[in-house]
């Protein structure tokens, strides 16, 4: 009895979480001009039409650039930090860990506002640089955490052996450590990419004239347009994220790092 009840709650929870996507995916297939479910007729025109909307194309590219760039930057900063904390006795190590992972606790909208007020405006930074700064800081904690997890799986004596055999410390890192934590770094990259790509609140204050990210543009467009195009776009983006995650899960076992 209890088992059945448990499984039905599980099923309902999954329906609650995933059902809405099926609805918007379906609504995007409508042949009509109005967003409704069940769709009126069947057509792929809204899905095809999404690629024709220039402002979405521009902001999609910008979001891509931003997500790749800030995640790469966060990893450049995060991998050495994670390595240092896993392998060295760093003075004030706990403090460093707290500082580097602090952006998780700060609500993103506050980070965006603070960056705008006290960094971007006083320094006269361009909008894109502001976005990279904000997103890198947000992604950094993920990079550190995920890479730390995969470093703890790697026994330090492997590097020590390499060093004993004459490798330099740097050499040991690039030849021995990095290949072994490759999966972790890639998992961090994927998580960071998705976090940055979907990020709204920090970008809210940091976007400017002519420079806008895709989620921000979608939020704005949701108010204007009530045709199936936003539903189609949402579905395509969802499919993009889902396929990245599925491939990553297959190759890397992503959920171990989440």
């Amino acid at each position: 009895m209890i088992r059945i009840a448990g499984f039905s709650v599980l099923g309902l929870a999954l329906l609650f979480l995933l059902g809405p996507f099926l609805i918007i995916a379906g609504a995007g297939l409508s042949a009509g001009d109005i967003l409704v479910f069940p769709p009126q007729g069947f057509s792929l025109r809204w899905y095809a039409g999404v690629f024709e909307i220039e402002r979405f194309r521009e902001s999609f590219l910008l979001s891509m650039e931003l997500a790749v760039g800030s995640t790469a930057l966060a990893l450049l900063l995060g991998v050495p930090a994670a390595y240092a904390m896993a392998r060295y006795e760093v003075p004030g190590g706990e403090w460093i860990r707290t500082i580097v992972t602090a952006p998780v606790i700060v609500p993103a909208i506050i980070a965006g506002l603070a960056l705008l007020r006290y960094t971007v405006i006083p320094l006269g930074l361009p909008v894109m640089a502001a976005l990279v700064l904000g997103h890198t800081a947000l992604v950094a904690p993920y990079a550190v955490r995920v890479v730390t997890v995969s470093l703890t799986h790697l026994r330090p004596d492997v590097e020590e052996a390499a060093i004993l055999l004459g490798a330099s410390r740097t050499g040991a890192f690039f030849r021995v450590v990095l290949p072994n934590i490759r999966n972790g770094v890639m998992a961090a990259f994927i998580l960071g990419f998705i976090t940055s790509f979907n990020q709204v609140p920090v970008s809210l204050f940091l976007t400017g004239p002519g420079v806008s990210t895709l989620p921000i543009d979608m939020l704005a467009a949701m108010e204007f347009v009530y045709d199936p195009s936003i539903a189609a776009l949402s579905t395509l983006l969802a499919l993009m994220s889902v396929s990245i995650v599925l491939v990553a899960e297959r190759l890397l076992g992503l959920s171990r790092y989440v």
Binding site: I34, E65, V68, G69, A72, L73, L75, L76, L116, R117, I121, G124, P126, M128, A129, V132, F174, L178, R182, V185, M186, F189, G208, P209, G210, V211, A220, M222, E223, F224, V225, Y226
Partner: protein, 343 residues
């Protein structure tokens, strides 16, 4: 991913940043404007202007309050060159030293404007480019609206959206409700109390006019209060929606073009404003039902004129709140709204 790939990515990213920087080096004019009808404005105004000036018009859109706050935040290092504002927002911007007086002798088309549009806020801080009426828009198959008092008709219970006080239309709503109920005080207390009393029956207080099309389409609402500039979008929905002529009359407002103080493209800003005021641009904009003309030389077909708020006589018939009165009383409206309606 190898370190080489990571470094490659970072380098690519840096190159991308430099490239974006390079594009920004071209002559660009940043226009801070309302969000409504930007697609059509691009066709009727920005694109022709870009062809003439060999420059790029970049937009920063949002409601007046949003953009005014942005101008203030970026006062030391402004992004925008031209700000399109409601008259009272422009007056506020002038008092906060965010915009600069316009030398109208540099605007050949200035002489063609209706007198009411020439210097609406004083000291040539802004030139009017359009005016609009504000009224009730309603589903004529569901209700018949003949008075501002119909806003609280039982038929509209849970089916009406009203402008938030933070929008340009918010004060106009309070003004007309107050007037319809014979409220006499400048703090619109009678109007505020009326809206407060019915707030539970209101679907939402909208903050961006664009949202209304969605609300009508989804049948969330049967009526709302909005400016005529929003009418073409709503009319396009192909729903039985009408523009009310309430017996108490219509309210409305005037929008102005201003030059942001410290603009790095002042000459381009003057060219752009002059272009916007030109008979050709104003005619194209009017024929697409975006904005009604403030240029007296613009002649329109009757059905176009009907769809807009056309002509100086019409403009003078509107019950408007003078910009300085808006600023003098806005704090009391906000206080009343926040303590009685918003909560």
């Amino acid at each position: 991913m190898s370190s080489k790939q990571v470094i490659g990515l970072a380098a690519g990213m840096a190159a991308g940043l430099v490239a974006t920087g390079a594009i920004a080096q071209q002559r660009t004019l940043v226009v801070s404007n309302f969000a409504v009808s930007q697609d059509l404005l691009r066709k009727d105004l920005y694109a022709p202007f870009e062809a003439k000036c060999n420059c790029k018009v970049v937009l920063d859109v949002g409601n007046a309050a949003d953009r005014l706050a942005k101008l203030e935040a970026r006062k030391a290092n402004p992004e925008a060159d031209v700000a399109v504002l409601a008259d009272f927002s422009a007056l506020e911007a002038a008092r906060k030293d965010l915009i600069e007086p316009i030398d109208v002798s540099k605007l050949p088309n200035f002489a063609k404007l209706y007198d009411i549009a020439k210097d609406p806020i004083g000291k040539n801080y802004g030139v009017g480019y359009t005016f609009y009426a504000t009224s009730i828009v309603y589903r004529k198959d569901k209700i018949d609206v003949t008075s501002w008092t119909d806003l609280w008709s039982p038929k509209l219970k849970n089916r009406i959206a009203l402008p938030n006080i933070t929008t340009t239309q918010g004060p106009l709503l309070l003004f007309m409700v107050n007037r319809a109920l014979n409220g006499a005080t400048p703090d619109f207390a009678t109007g505020v109390d009326k809206i407060a009393g019915m707030k539970g029956d209101i679907v939402t207080f909208y903050e961006r006019a664009a949202q209304l099309t969605q609300l009508f389409q989804q049948e969330e609402i049967y009526a709302t209060v909005t400016g005529r500039f929003n009418w073409p979008l709503i009319a396009k929905l192909n729903m039985p929606i009408a523009w009310a002529q309430p017996k108490e009359g219509l309210t409305g407002g005037l929008n102005v073009l201003t030059i942001v103080k410290g603009s790095k493209n002042r000459d381009l800003a003057y060219e752009f404003i002059n272009e916007w005021l030109s008979t050709e641009a104003q005619t194209r904009i009017a024929n697409d039902l975006i904005d009604s003309p403030a240029n007296r030389e613009v002649k329109l077909e009757p059905q176009i004129a009907d769809a807009l708020t056309y002509g100086e006589e019409t403009a003078k018939s509107l019950h408007v709140i003078p910009p300085d009165q808006v600023l003098a009383n806005r704090d009391s409206w906000l206080a009343g709204w926040n303590s009685k309606i918003a909560r």
